[in-house]
């Protein structure tokens, strides 16, 4: 029995939800250059989600021998919130620009080492996707870290907003760092989380120091997204994201 669908779904949902959140900035970013940058990030994330959903749909279909009728679209548009396995961090509202950048930074600081390690996955389908995602995540991390330093080490106003965003989102960081499935780690399908966490720690410590931001206390991690228990903001996002596909099932451009 293939365990790939259960393993890849959280990764796919992370990518789709973050990609959708980023796309909400389209036409509203502080500068035209940043509008392009956020739209580019969104495009990479949604592309990654599509690649992962395609494997999930294919593997689930092979399992039953007769297909399940699942496709990238049904997975994205016809599941309810409780069926989504994304971490709470990615579903948090965009807030101000500082909050979007902090969310991206905390996520990318994990995604970058995660995808690099996943290139060596024992599952060829995951290794192939990781080889693409690895290059893109490195670019995202560079962009988010550069902005975080500029905001944190910028004006009084930008520093205060970056610090407030960091404090607000910090409790959601832990869930993104936790191994999706210890059994899959042992089997070599998913990478060992320990070195990835160490890389995350190093990136966060170095960047926060350059950004003159204080690291919040690790006292109250917020989790539940991986089990389908999401925050209020997610329901609203999903309603908007799915409304067109649900009102006009099968619609094409």
């Amino acid at each position: 029995m293939s365990i790939l669908p259960d393993l890849l779904l959280p990764l796919a949902d992370d990518a789709l939800v973050l990609g959708h959140r980023l796309s909400e900035w389209c036409g509203r970013a502080p500068t035209p250059e940043e509008d392009l940058a956020l739209a580019n990030l969104a495009l990479d994330q949604i592309g990654l989600a599509r690649a992962l959903y395609a494997v999930v749909a294919q593997e689930t279909g092979q399992e039953t021998g007769q297909g399940t009728g699942q496709t990238e679209d049904t997975l994205a548009y016809f599941r309810d919130d409780r069926a989504f396995r994304n971490c709470l961090l990615v579903e948090q509202a965009n807030g101000d620009f500082a909050q979007t950048i902090v969310r991206q930074f905390l996520f990318s600081a994990h995604a970058d080492p995660f995808w690099r390690a996943a290139c060596a996955s024992a599952a060829p389908a995951l290794a192939a996707i990781a080889a693409k995602a690895e290059k893109e995540s490195a670019y995202h991390l560079r962009h988010a870290a550069a902005w975080l330093v500029r905001l944190g080490d910028g004006t009084e106003e930008s520093h205060a907003r970056a610090q407030a965003a960091l404090t607000a989102l910090w409790p959601c960081a832990e869930e993104a760092l936790t191994a999706l499935d210890p059994v899959a780690v042992v089997a070599g399908i998913l990478p060992d989380p320990a070195p990835i966490r160490a890389a995350w720690e190093a990136t966060v410590t170095a960047t926060l120091s350059r950004a003159t931001l204080d690291r919040p206390a690790d006292d109250w991690p917020q989790t539940g997204g991986r089990a389908g228990r999401h925050t209020e903001a997610f329901g609203k996002m999903l309603a908007e994201m799915q409304s067109l596909a649900r009102a006009h099932p099968g619609a094409v451009w």
Binding site: G19, E33, E34, L36, A37, N40, L41, L43, D44, Q45, I46, G47, L48, R50, A51, P124, A127, A128, I129, A131, K132, A133, K135, E136, Y139, R142, H143
Partner: protein, 150 residues
């Protein structure tokens, strides 16, 4: 299928242009992986530059249309991810065409595609398509795009 038929198919497919980067062809960009005979049907394998590249769908249509025009359709177009595409896949012809189009090619030190000056600055790490970034030449003062090195 005759080898001549397959060679004609290869030539037709190799001439398909990237809709976001004309006149670069998919062969120039290294996106075209294989043109093969699958039980009498032409099967074309392509790989995405970026996972979310929206041009991939159009490129698939263009390949089918090119083979139809050559009388070799209907064809199958499939996408493969491994090995991952990178900018080393660009042919020397691609570099020359990029420069001629005012886009700095990837790899090597960045230089203005118009006046070749190395005195350039970055405006944004992201450009109008997933594969490009924005820059400005401090010598001739013209803004220009560069193909990101991946």
């Amino acid at each position: 299928m005759s080898t001549r038929r397959l060679a004609r198919a290869r030539a037709a497919v190799a001439a398909v242009e990237d809709p976001e980067l004309p006149p670069l062809t998919i062969a120039d960009l290294g996106i075209l992986r294989d043109v093969a005979d699958r039980d009498g049907r032409i099967e074309v394998t392509i790989t995405p530059s970026y996972t979310g590249c929206p041009a991939m769908v159009v490129i698939g249509w263009e390949i089918e249309a090119a083979l139809d025009r050559a009388g070799l359709g209907p064809a199958l177009v499939r996408t493969e991810l491994a090995p991952a595409w990178d900018t080393a896949s660009l042919t020397p012809a691609a570099h020359a065409k990029l420069r001629a189009a005012g886009i700095a090619p990837p790899g090597g030190p960045l230089a203005c595609p118009r006046c070749a000056s190395a005195r350039v600055e970055t405006i944004s790490a992201f450009g109008a398509t997933a594969c490009k970034s924005l820059h400005r030449c401090l010598e001739c003062r013209e803004p220009f795009e560069a193909f990101k090195t991946l």
